[in-house]
């Protein structure tokens, strides 16, 4: 029996990870093959995950080149006082 969209939605995290038994994964795969709306949703959902990862890539522009000097001084002073 084919999954409904709602049932498929409940499995989404496990479907895109490795948390489903083979037969459940197959049922999800089949649903995506048969349902245009869910196929579209999955494409955007995966893209959302990729965009999130790219936005916080530690090698990218998120890591500042340096830390404000007063922050460094405060951290070192804090250590001495504790």
């Amino acid at each position: 029996m084919m999954l409904t969209c709602k049932e498929f939605d409940d499995f989404m995290v496990d479907y895109l990870g490795d948390g489903l038994p083979v037969w459940q994964k197959y049922m999800c795969w089949l649903h995506v093959k048969m349902c245009r709306e869910c196929a579209h949703f999955v494409r955007e959902y995966k893209r959302t995950i990729d965009l999130g990862k790219a936005a916080f890539d530690d090698q990218g522009d998120q890591v500042p080149d340096s830390v404000p000097e007063e922050l460094i001084r405060a951290a070192l002073a804090h250590r001495k006082n504790n």
């Binding site: 969209c5 939605d9 995950i49 990218g60 998120q62 890591v63 340096s66 070192l76 804090h78």
Partner: protein, 221 residues
């Protein structure tokens, strides 16, 4: 548990082309840790200057306020200095410090008085009585962010989108999708059930997808 994951990531790296860099890094770590344990003043400063940028990036990511991020930056290094004797070398020093920065950020989030947060319920998909999806991507109410196509501004849009999520959902998304913890590690660090992690992660990703609709629309054209 997070450290175990980091160790396996490093093992994978050792098997790849970065072997020499990892070995050099491990030697440098040992030297720095030894001098920290001897209480050499210069080593503390060296640690803060070397790892400070990464720590600041993490505390800024979890704590939206710059003042909170700065406080947490200090707390992280205090915890590092106090805990250096417990560092067992199972992961790189950088990964160990990173784990402490994440933990300190989560502790700060728990302590912080929670601001009123917008519900994400309207961002969830709709299903009819038979369980069929009734939404279509084009029917979303467009969020206020502009559709951006160049990489730098796209990153900013995505980060702004994540910041709009309520903390319970945002933190799970950061831990799972950005910091790479698995479901079990995320449940342990937050003290919640595995299913709660999965539900929050799914809702966070779904809400973010909703918020990013203008971006998807722009990339299609």
């Amino acid at each position: 548990m997070a450290l175990t994951r980091e160790l396996s990531a490093e093992t994978r790296q050792v098997n790849g082309e970065n072997t020499s860099r990892v070995v050099v890094s491990a030697a440098a770590d040992k030297e720095l840790v030894d001098s920290l344990r001897r209480g050499e003043e210069a080593s503390y400063e060296s640690l803060v200057r070397s790892f400070g940028p990464q720590v600041l990036a993490i505390t800024r990511r979890y704590l939206k306020s710059e003042a909170d991020a700065a406080d947490c930056f200090q707390e992280t290094f205090i915890a590092v200095f106090k805990g250096i004797d417990t560092y067992a070398g199972q992961s790189s020093l950088r990964q160990w410090v990173r784990g402490i920065a994440i933990n300190q950020s989560l502790m700060a989030l728990r302590k912080r008085k929670r601001a009123r947060e917008e519900s994400i319920e309207h961002m969830m998909p709709l299903f009819d009585d038979s369980g069929s999806r009734v939404e279509s991507a084009g029917e979303h109410q467009r969020s206020s962010i502009e559709a951006e196509i160049d990489t730098a501004s796209l990153k900013v849009s995505v980060r702004q989108g994540i910041d709009k999520l309520p903390d319970d959902f945002r933190v799970v998304l950061l831990l799972r999708d950005i910091d790479g913890l698995n479901t079990r590690e995320t449940a342990a660090i937050l003290g919640i059930e595995l299913n709660a992690v999965k539900t929050r992660l799914h809702r966070a990703r779904t809400a973010l997808r909703y918020i990013l609709q203008p971006v998807f629309g722009a990339s299609k054209s």
